[in-house]
């Protein structure tokens, strides 16, 4: 029997690093704290790899299925005999896969940040927060029960808040961090209600119980309904709401583009590769429940995912801030993953969508982290986020250029890069389940190729603007992660995911469907070609198309005015129609009543105060009168 108890160190090291760097960081030289954090994460990464190796290759399977192992499970809060909250480490295919993803990307980002953040104020603080984030994310991934997951879920939200607001002197960063926190907190409200509903009926928080046969049976047979939907569907939809908030699904996506105010490595780690896929991971974690108890909820997930992916891809075509383009691309790709989960069934071949979603999560983490780190390298070189101020950079940044090209080809889904394989699986799953969504995703694949290569050509080719300083290639600490991730982007597609990460933990054979693969590569090539025509050199056609589209273009450029809609709803409707009257009531009626009491007291005391004249003889006079009065009372009335 293989012992996985060492996996606890995967959690202990980052939290220790957080405490060390957070408490004593200012005592170290900046570079030392950076190196310390990176070494800690390197150890975590190696441990994760070792755990993955042991789990997938050494651990004997039971009935051909991968085991679910509770490496640790201690009672954290013992509230009553039936209500206990536990903490532990849960090992199963998706948690091991996520361990690898999170630790790898986190390590790369740590290494990269040593170069990228060099000389920044708060260098130690940055690494402390990175460690905190990594700890929270790893804790979320290995959660043994839904309550532990919720706790770490909130910790992830906090560290995201801290890192988005890292440049806290910039008002826009502060606003963005607040927005991210409030929007995700709002979504987490749904998550919490969902947890309580689910656990109330299943009488357990543990994933093993909830998603096991007993939990499924209980959830399936729930007869209570609310507004025409069964309680199980409600609970799972509310949980999905939490996931949608973290994963920035429409309409809770508004925080993610603004979150790009954080330092670029943070965007790569949190807002591309790890935290934003937490929602996908959550749905995957509870997938048996969704599949058996609430297929309606899965349909909702599929449509939300599909819509988000199209919506975000369209917006990405019009943005000029390269990080925002990448942010919308992230939205679009997460939409893909959600859609894949939504169209999946449970078990074997039917679970293709589940497998594809996890596969895409894995490959996307690699190539999106690469894209963001590449963008960081570009920004580092030209000190701007806007592609209008870039161009012809391929001469100055050869390594960045090459790795960025690989990432772009990967996300465009070209054979044989990893994006091709995972996206192909998703398209197959969608094709088998829902033709409409398949068409949408097919279109999105083309759009993705177009907007990524628009970015690529604008930045690396096109006309060279006047640079104040000659752009220079980033130092080795920054390019090594780029090269590593580029290699990962190329080769992770060959991992036999269907043999390792499946819905029922049983391996199955997946085949590449040529009828789908060839057109998807073709539409990718078409997208690339159009981008080549329009953006390789300055093309007058671009302006003509923009003016031709007119209002449509402005609408898209302004992100369909969703932010404005939110502002309208919150400010005009909620503030003016609800909050103002309530505030008025509070200020004038509730406070008025209280102030009235206080005012009467003050008035009365001001009147009574006059009696306190300070004249000794007045006091003596009243004293004598009082004494006489008491004598009279006690002698004649008391008897």
């Amino acid at each position: 029997m293989i012992n996985f108890s060492y996996t606890i160190w995967i959690l202990i090291i980052p939290i220790f690093m957080f405490l060390l760097l957070g408490l004593l960081g200012m005592k170290f030289k900046p570079i030392i704290s950076g190196v310390l954090g990176t070494i800690g994460l390197g150890v975590v990464m190696l441990l994760s790899y070792y755990a993955a190796y042991q789990y997938f290759f050494q651990l004997p399977r039971i009935d051909d299925a991968y085991q679910q192992i509770l490496a640790h499970n201690i009672t954290w809060l013992n509230l009553s005999a039936s209500l206990q909250i536990k903490m532990g480490v849960f090992i199963d295919p998706i948690s091991v896969m996520m361990l690898v993803v999170v630790s790898t990307v986190s390590f790369m980002v740590h290494l990269y940040s040593i170069g990228y953040m060099k000389g920044e104020k708060g260098f130690q603080r940055f690494f402390a927060f990175l460690s905190l984030f990594t700890f929270s994310m790893l804790g979320l991934v290995v959660a043994t029960n839904i309550f532990q997951m919720y706790i770490f879920w909130e910790l992830v939200g906090v560290s995201s808040f801290l890192l988005i607001g890292f440049y806290y002197e910039r008002p826009s960063a502060v606003a963005a961090s607040k927005k991210a926190f409030i929007v995700t907190r709002f979504a987490d409200l749904g998550f919490l209600v969902g947890i309580l509903l689910l656990s109330y009926y299943t009488k357990s928080f543990d994933f093993l119980n909830i998603t096991g046969p007993v939990g499924i049976e209980v959830t399936r047979n729930l007869t209570q309904t609310f507004l025409g939907m069964s309680v199980a569907t409600w609970a799972l939809l509310l949980i999905f709401m939490g996931g949608a908030g973290k994963s920035a699904m429409f309409p809770l996506h508004i925080w993610l583009p603004d979150a790009m105010e954080g330092p670029t490595p943070v965007s790569a780690l949190i807002h591309a590769a790890t935290m934003v896929v937490a929602g996908v991971y959550l749905v995957a974690r509870l997938f048996p429940l969704y599949a058996f108890a609430a297929p309606d909820a899965l349909t909702v997930i599929a449509y939300v995912g599909g819509f988000t992916s199209l919506f975000a891809a369209v917006i990405a075509c019009t943005q000029f801030d390269i990080k925002r383009v990448l942010a919308f691309s992230t939205l679009s790709q997460i939409g893909y993953m959600m859609l894949a989960l939504g169209v999946s069934g449970y078990g074997g071949e039917k679970g293709l969508g589940y497998m594809a979603s996890m596969f895409h999560l894995f490959t996307h983490a690699m190539f999106k982290a690469l894209l963001f780190l590449g963008a960081g390298s570009i920004i580092h070189a030209v000190h701007s986020n806007y592609m209008n101020e870039m161009g012809g950079l391929r001469k100055y940044l050869p390594i960045t250029h090459l790795t960025f090209l690989i990432a772009c080809l990967t996300i465009a889904g070209l054979f044989p890069l990893s994006g091709f394989w995972s996206k192909d699986e998703i398209l197959v799953a969608a094709y088998e389940h829902n033709k409409l969504l398949f068409v949408v995703e097919y279109l999105v694949a083309g759009l993705t190729a177009f907007y990524m290569f628009r970015l690529y050509f604008r930045v690396f080719w096109n006309k060279e603007p006047h640079y104040h300083h000659k752009p220079h290639e980033s130092p080795l600490v920054m390019t090594i992660p780029l090269m590593f991730l580029a290699v990962a982007s190329i080769f992770t597609g060959f991992l036999p995911f269907s043999q390792m990460v499946t819905s029922d933990r049983l391996p199955f054979e997946s085949e590449t469907n040529l009828m789908i693969a060839i057109p998807s590569v073709a539409i990718g090539l078409v997208g690339i070609f159009i981008a080549f025509l329009l953006y390789k050199k300055d093309n007058v056609l671009v302006g003509k198309i923009v003016t031709g589209l007119g209002g449509i273009y402005t609408t898209i450029y302004n992100k369909f005015y969703i932010d404005e809609v939110y502002m309208f709803v919150t400010k005009k409707i909620i503030f003016n129609l609800i909050s103002r009257p309530v505030a008025w009531f509070d200020r004038h009626v509730v406070d008025g009543f209280m102030n009235g009491i206080a005012g009467v007291t003050v008035l009365a005391s001001r009147k009574i105060k006059g009696a306190q004249s300070g004249q000794l003889q007045h006091y003596a006079f009243f004293f004598v009168l009082g004494a006489i009065a008491f004598a009279l009372i006690f002698i004649y009335l008391w008897q």
Partner: protein, 168 residues
């Protein structure tokens, strides 16, 4: 009308007249002298009652000590020939009302009350008896109050010095 009765009425008249003069006189030094007369008359009453020691203490401590102290402080703080202004009439009426009503109540009370007089023969309260009982620790001995009073006097003396000391 015996001489005793005449003496009593004389002292009583002196006490009441000089008391009123003490609180109404508009020259402070005169008020002090009237107070002295009141205290001496009171000592006379004690003699009348055959309490010689008490009368002696009254003369020595009140008339000799406290009045001298008061006159001394008057000289320190006031102009001798200054005449007080008459207190405001409303103040006088209010004070008189309070005093007269209180006096009426008290007189009413004890004139209606029947006192039970002691029938035992009076003991000899000369200096020897008082001194013995004052320092006795037996039953009816007053050693403890005596000591407490000495400590109180000491404390008052120290306090007076500290308070009246100039500056720091």
């Amino acid at each position: 009308m015996t001489a005793y009765k005449i003496m009593f009425y004389l002292f009583a008249a002196m006490i009441i007249v000089f008391s009123i003069l003490t609180v109404t006189s508009r020259r402070i030094l005169r008020a002090a002298v009237f107070l002295l007369f009141v205290l001496i008359s009171t000592a006379g009453l004690y003699f009348w009652l055959d309490y010689q020691f008490m009368a002696g203490v009254q003369l020595a401590l009140y008339a000799g000590g406290i009045v001298v102290l008061i006159i001394f402080s008057i000289l320190l703080t006031s102009h001798i020939d200054q005449k007080f202004s008459q207190p405001h009439w409303s103040k006088r009426i209010m004070a008189a009302t309070a005093a007269l009503s209180g006096m009426g109540l008290c007189l009413l009370l004890f004139l209606q009350h029947t006192f039970i007089h002691g029938t035992n023969p009076p003991i000899k309260n000369d200096m020897t008896a008082i001194g013995t009982q004052l320092l006795s620790t037996e039953h009816n001995g007053f050693a403890l109050p005596f000591e407490v009073i000495s400590i109180l006097l000491l404390a008052a003396m120290i306090a007076a010095i500290i308070i009246a000391k100039k500056g720091k």
